[in-house]
């Protein structure tokens, strides 16, 4: 009993072939869109690889790029097949290739679905990469004269200004590291000497933040230094002050940016996957309908199209049988070869 049989007459077959041809070219466009989305994500990740320790995983954009290219190739081929299926003479040369091609299409659809799922699941690995990368970035903030790290200050400042964030989890992260280079500290000053002596590592720690943490929405000029000292500034209470600095941490800001980017890409990929699945089903119907035409000389007659020749459990059994036959066939050949060699030796 065939699975999901549908009757096709000549007109219906022609209509389906034309519709499939159009859908295939729309799908080529969709493949190009997925390719460009993957490229865009890759460029965005490269742009900020400094704060991700250069160890971020490019699996998602690479697979999107690959899927886009494959989709273009497969769908233009399918479009050509659908176009040729309207002409019985041209169709006969495609006939033997259609079954393996459909198997490849099914595999491609499965992989496309997995890639779409990956877009939603990569958030976790990105979070840990960002946490480490930002921590190191802040550590190297002061090394503006160390070759290889001299750009870190500029990167972090521009990042905090663009994403409206401060520090890793919040602005207090800046209190725990020395972000002012020794080169600009006056070591003859008592204050500097006290601060350096006050901690084990001999670092100059302040309760201040760089200027890039400042929030332009604040009604008062930005307070950057002595943030925990209420008496240092007139009419200032650090417990209730909310507009002075950006309150969000850069890890959360970057994560939400990349997360929303990958979510929208995942949704687009899922939509394209649905399109691809419908194209594969349509192609299968076309294939079986054209194959089951009883008299090739009479194209006007009706035929039937189906998804699977037998029901699902029977098809699965037949598939396992063919696998067993294949392995038995190898065994028989091997035994035959051994038997052949034995008489020769003997």
């Amino acid at each position: 009993m065939a699975l999901m049989k549908v009757k096709f007459d000549q007109k219906k077959r022609v209509k389906m072939a034309q519709g499939l041809w159009l859908m295939n070219w729309v799908s080529v466009l969709a493949g190009i869109i997925i390719f460009s989305l993957g490229l865009f994500l890759k460029i965005e990740l490269r742009k900020r690889s400094d704060v991700m320790n250069n160890s971020e995983s490019h699996f998602v954009p690479n697979s999107l790029i690959g899927m886009g290219v494959l989709s273009c190739v497969f769908n233009s081929l399918a479009g050509k097949i659908c176009y040729d299926s309207l002409d019985p003479a041209k169709y006969t040369k495609w006939k033997p290739w259609l079954k393996p091609y459909l198997v490849i299409c099914v595999l491609f659809n499965v992989i496309l679905f997995l890639v779409a799922l990956c877009c939603f699941l990569m958030r976790g690995s990105l979070e840990s990469t960002l946490a480490h990368g930002l921590k190191n970035g802040m550590k190297y903030y002061r090394d503006t004269d160390t070759p290889g790290r001299c750009f870190m200050k500029k990167t972090i400042d521009l990042l905090q200004i663009e994403f409206k964030c401060c520090g890793n989890n919040g602005f207090r992260d800046w209190f725990e590291i020395q972000w002012i280079s020794n080169r600009y500290l006056d070591f003859s000053s008592k204050e500097v000497k006290d601060r350096i002596k006050s901690n084990v590592d001999g670092r100059y720690l302040v309760d201040g933040v760089p200027f890039s943490c400042c929030n332009p929405n604040s009604p008062r000029p930005c307070i950057q230094y002595q943030l925990t000292n209420n008496s240092a500034h007139y009419s200032y209470d650090h417990q209730t002050e909310e507009l002075n600095l950006w309150l969000r941490g850069c890890r959360a800001a970057l994560l939400s940016y990349y997360g929303s980017l990958m979510n929208s890409m995942g949704i687009v990929t899922l939509l394209v996957w649905l399109l691809e699945v419908s194209i594969t089903i349509g192609l299968r119907y076309l294939h079986t309908a054209l194959d089951s035409v009883p008299n090739p000389e009479e194209p006007e007659c009706e035929s039937e199209g189906w998804l699977l020749e037998k029901s699902v459990p029977e098809t699965w059994k037949a598939f396992l049988e063919s696998l067993k036959k294949l392995s038995k066939g190898n065994q028989v050949e091997a035994e035959g070869a051994d038997a052949g060699q034995a008489p020769e030796a003997g």
Binding site: T144, D145, C150, K153, K154, D157, L158, I161, W179, I180, S181, R183, Y184, L185, D186, P210, F211, S212, C214, P216, N217, P219, R220, P221, C222, Q224, H233, Y234, S235
Partner: protein, 351 residues
């Protein structure tokens, strides 16, 4: 009554003219569309920078007129493409015969007028930008501290965002901040002797410092930003105010904004010039095509030679015919008698 600038057009040159016109019309549509987009972009930029341009500055009129001119050029391009395509096909031409006349008039009067106006504005207005920016930025700087005053409370945020985005500081340099009070009085401690001294040191009672807001800071500087005591060479170790280096943005916002807006205006101006040229060519070509086909009586494939012209007669004759026609239209009733009298009179002398 000699036609103005006649041109003999046999069949082959007519077809060439129509094909060339089709191509030119699509180019005109493209140029019109680009002009439309460019003026839209300039309008968006101006809406963001609106606070820094004095209200008396007429500069926003340029992108508005250019927007209209671009739209009309786009429409003319589409119409010209349709008409020239139809003129190659005898079946499609008749409906276009009636449309072509009004299209030419609208294109010349409307489109041409708008384009000439826009070009004039593009040449003349950027000069007034200087004055407008000067006033606008001065006002913005003066109101930086007024974060509590309704109507001015956004000045600080907009000024900070401008300096952060365009990488500039002050009007012509960072020292402009030394001349305005940019710290709101609400956050000044009246008991602090330093504050009292500063306020009493000038006539207007302003709290002036040699410091700048944080948005002037340059992230490329190797040292953390120095914002205060900028004229004091001993305030910061290893800092010489004569060589501020990379500490603050060196450019003034006036120069940066002026350059930015003038670039956009000159791009728009060159696109308007190209659109004007294309539109003139398309309209002249369409007029020749129209008059040539009228000479054939609307039959496209006629093998005969016809004349295309710009105007059927010289300017004086045209005005005379227009005047007479206007006179006829104004006196309908008495008209019935005089022509009857006139025609017998004409018959008699002939006889």
């Amino acid at each position: 009554m000699a036609p103005v600038l006649p041109l003999v057009l046999p069949l082959q040159p007519r077809i060439r003219l129509a094909q060339g016109l089709w191509l030119l019309s699509w180019l005109l549509a493209l140029a019109g569309g680009l002009t439309f987009l460019c003026s839209g972009h300039l309008l968006v930029q101006l809406s963001h920078l609106g606070t820094f341009l004095a209200p008396s500055c007429r500069f926003p009129a340029l992108p508005q007129v250019a927007l209209a001119a671009g739209a009309v050029a786009l429409g003319t391009g589409f119409g010209g493409a349709g008409a020239s395509r139809a003129s190659l096909d005898a079946a499609r031409y008749p409906p276009w015969r009636g449309v072509l006349g009004p299209l030419l008039v609208a294109g010349t009067a409307g489109g041409g007028g708008l384009l000439v106006l826009a070009l004039g504005l593009a040449l003349g207005l950027p000069g007034s930008l200087d004055q407008g920016l000067e006033e606008g930025l001065g006002t913005a700087l003066a109101h930086y501290k007024d974060t509590e005053v309704p109507g001015r409370c956004h000045a600080k945020r907009l000024m900070d965002e401008l300096q952060l985005k365009h990488h500039c500081c002050g009007r012509h340099g960072y020292k402009d901040w030394f001349g305005v009070q940019w710290v709101s009085s609400r956050y000044l401690d009246p008991n602090d002797q330093d504050v009292v001294d500063r306020i009493q040191s000038n006539v207007e009672g302003l709290y002036l410092t040699d410091g700048v807001p944080f948005s002037c800071c340059n992230p490329h500087s190797p040292r953390p930003c120095l914002q205060s005591q900028l004229s004091d060479p001993y305030a910061h170790p290893l800092f010489d105010p004569r060589h501020p280096n990379l500490n603050l943005w060196a450019q003034g916002c006036h120069e940066v904004l002026l350059g930015h807006l003038q670039d956009l205006a000159s791009t728009l101006g060159s696109m308007l010039a190209v659109t004007f040229l294309l539109q003139a060519l398309v309209l002249v070509g369409l007029r020749y095509l129209q008059t040539a086909l009228e000479g054939l009586g609307g039959a496209i494939d006629g093998e005969g030679e016809t004349q295309g012209y710009l105007f059927p007669s010289g300017l004086k004759d045209m005005l005379k015919t227009a005047w007479l026609q206007g006179g006829v239209a104004h006196r309908p009733a008495p008209e019935e008698a005089p022509p009857e009298e006139a025609s017998p009179k004409e018959d008699l002398p002939e006889a």
